[in-house]
């Protein structure tokens, strides 16, 4: 990482903000994991532990009216878009105050008003959807960008390829990313594809690609900014491969014994929060006392959020019947 590049392209306040969101993501997801282990959260829990720099880096590079169709390890994007820890925890607890009112769980949150498309478990399903979001921007002549991605496993799906191809053919303002965390559930990359770099897939669609250190929030932010600016300028889609490592199991029930311990040890040294702290120290933007202070702050926010979530009401059974169909006043404009 060239320090001059960082200081030239990212403002100090923005970098500190990214650091805050890295810490908030980690604190929130650690809390969620603890609640899961206590049996207080039911269902699946998929965290971004060790991968927080990706969502924080790209979401902080977007404008407010751009639209994100996130991956299921992109908690940082929700937080940057204004989802509070309380809302998120209410969602995980199946409470009525969560963004799905209890209809869906874990990271399946969405809100068009905040430019967040709800995640679909069928990986890569939202890539064509984000392409359509970008198509709407292009048809209406708006200078807005859609940002979407999937994991290494998701790039095997036809929808990944159909979306990439369509976006490239029509020069749409969309950025695709892959958070290559080396495992799709238990399947290592070598059993997922016969190439080393997922970025190679972009060549087939005539799309430029970049390989980025996914654990370096500044690198993710800068690469995302370049791709977003390119899309906004009408030059079409870019593909970004964020190299990273999934440090927990696929979900929290999974001890991930299929991942070699040495691999995890190696990547632990590249932890995105650690890396961000090293960067901030090198730039003279922060020291240990500051880092501790941020840690205390996010901890308090998460605990306040948990209090809100726990005090929130559960939905009543018959609410299951509500919301199958939309009404005209709910159509976006």
């Amino acid at each position: 990482m060239d320090m001059a590049d960082v200081t030239r392209t990212i403002k100090r306040a923005d970098l500190l903000q990214m650091y805050y969101y890295l810490r908030l993501t980690r604190a929130l997801e650690d809390r969620i994991t603890a609640l899961y282990r206590q049996g207080r959260i039911v269902g699946g829990v998929y965290t971004s532990h060790g991968m927080e720099a990706i969502a924080v880096g790209y979401a902080s590079a977007l404008q407010r009216d751009d639209v994100i169709a996130p991956f299921h390890r992109d908690m940082g994007a929700f937080l940057i878009r204004g989802f509070t820890p309380g809302e998120v925890l209410a969602h995980y607890l199946g409470k009525r105050t969560g963004p799905s009112k209890g209809k869906d769980g874990n990271v399946h949150m969405g809100d068009l008003k905040r430019g967040m498309i709800g995640f679909v478990s069928h990986l890569a399903d939202n890539l064509p959807v984000a392409t359509g979001v970008a198509l709407a921007f292009k048809i209406r002549g708006e200078r807005r960008v859609a940002f979407t991605g999937t994991g290494d496993g998701g790039t095997s799906r036809g929808d990944f390829h159909e979306a990439m191809n369509f976006a490239a053919v029509r020069t749409l303002p969309v950025v695709f990313f892959c958070n290559n965390n080396q495992y799709a559930y238990s399947t290592p990359q070598r059993l997922q594809m016969a190439i080393h770099d997922v970025a190679d897939r972009a060549k087939a669609y005539g799309m430029p690609a970049e390989i980025v250190d996914g654990n370096d929030v500044a690198a993710v932010h800068m690469a995302s900014t370049r791709a977003i600016e390119r899309a906004r300028a009408g030059e079409g889609p870019t593909f970004l491969e964020f190299k990273t490592m999934r440090m927990h199991g696929h979900s929290e029930h999974d001890p991930a014994k299929y991942v070699p311990r040495e691999l995890l040890e190696e990547w632990k040294k590249k932890d995105p929060i650690l890396k961000a702290e090293q960067l901030l120290q090198q730039l003279g933007y922060g020291d240990d006392a500051y880092f501790d202070e941020v840690g205390e702050r996010v901890k308090k926010e998460v605990e306040a959020g948990l209090e809100f979530a726990e005090q929130s009401p559960l939905p009543a059974g018959p609410e299951v019947l509500e919301g199958v169909f939309a009404t005209e006043d709910e159509v976006a404009s």
Partner: protein, 330 residues
């Protein structure tokens, strides 16, 4: 249908084209997507001339990738546009099954995002299309909460239901029967009209047996009703027009009057729409029934190609006559 300001007769196909043209002129949010719909005007020429009129971004030729472009339509719809997607043949909708059932159908329920879009699907047999160009796949989607499904049988309904579908804030599957495209004509009102989604239509009033059907089978039923009338069996023909939401009021009203019901459809028999309506009648109209609820539908096979095979496969007037005579004896 008649009106004082009548225009010349149009085919079922032209009625669909008119609906698209008029909705695009009325609402700039409406745009079309699909394979070969632009320059070529579509495999059946439904969209002919529309690209020249509205431009290549409102009549958008897509790559050959149904899942990809249905997904894109969902995204555009969530941004407030009104995409109308053309499946070249309804059979190909299976490639987009996941996007329709998992994304379009569930988005509003899960997180409140409206998906106002239409998928037009030319369906049905009788055109020597074989197993991949003759299917009636509506049954697959009939079981998916969050979708609306319509299937018009006349030019009037084709135009009015397509307009209603485009104006609906939900994903609507519009099954247009390609056997009817150029075979039936009608004079349509000049002024704007819609046929509301969720309303069945009694296409023939009768007293003895309710024959409940939709799509091209409505015409088969009307033909059979003429024959049966000659022997004193008076059929009432209920054209469902909308499959979801089902117009139970009209269905029940008819069956409570006649006390007898035949369900006729071109989709194969097992787990079909007829099965669902038969169950509803058993649950809600049991006291009114004077005989068994009968189903007429193709066997559980793919749609075959060769003429004698397809003729055997598809329901025939004689099937209806036989069933009606059997039921009339109760």
């Amino acid at each position: 249908m008649t009106t004082t300001t009548a225009q010349s007769e149009v085919t079922y196909l032209e009625a669909i084209s008119q609906a698209l043209d008029e909705e695009m002129a009325r609402d700039e949010r409406v745009f079309l997507m699909g394979e070969d719909i632009g320059t070529y005007g579509g495999a059946f020429k439904i969209t002919e001339g529309l690209m020249a009129k509205y431009g290549e971004w409102r009549v958008l030729d897509t790559p050959l990738a149904e899942s990809g472009f249905v997904g894109a339509a969902i995204g555009a719809a969530m941004m407030g546009l009104r995409p109308v997607v053309e499946m070249q043949f309804a059979d190909f909708i299976s490639c987009a099954f996941d996007q329709i059932t998992e994304v379009a159908a569930k988005n509003h329920y899960r997180w409140g995002a409206a998906v106002p879009m239409v998928i037009r699907a030319p369906f049905g047999g009788g055109v020597h299309g074989g197993p991949f160009h003759s299917e009636c796949p509506e049954g697959w989607f009939f079981h998916s909460p969050g979708l609306k499904i319509v299937a018009p049988s006349t030019p009037y309904d084709a135009k009015g239901l397509l307009k209603a579908a485009i104006r609906d804030p939900n994903p609507v599957l519009y099954f247009e029967h390609k056997f009817l495209y150029r075979r039936i004509k009608a004079t349509l009102p000049k002024e704007d009209y819609i046929v509301p989604i969720g309303k069945a239509d009694v296409k023939r009033v009768g007293n003895d047996i309710s024959l409940i059907t939709y799509g091209a089978m409505v015409h088969l039923a009307l033909e059979a009703a003429e024959l049966l009338g000659q022997e004193g069996i008076d059929l009432e023909i209920v054209d469902l027009r909308t499959l979801i939401p089902l117009d139970k009021e009209t269905i029940y009203g008819s069956v409570r009057k006649t006390s007898k019901a035949i369900l006729l459809h071109e989709d194969n028999k097992t787990g079909g729409i007829g099965a669902e309506i038969a169950a509803l009648l058993a649950e809600d109209c049991f006291d009114h029934l004077d005989g068994p609820v009968l189903r007429i539908a193709p066997p559980d096979t793919p749609v075959p190609f060769s003429t004698p095979l397809e003729e055997y496969f598809l329901p025939k007037v004689s099937d209806i006559v036989t069933a009606a005579r059997k039921l009339a004896a109760y």
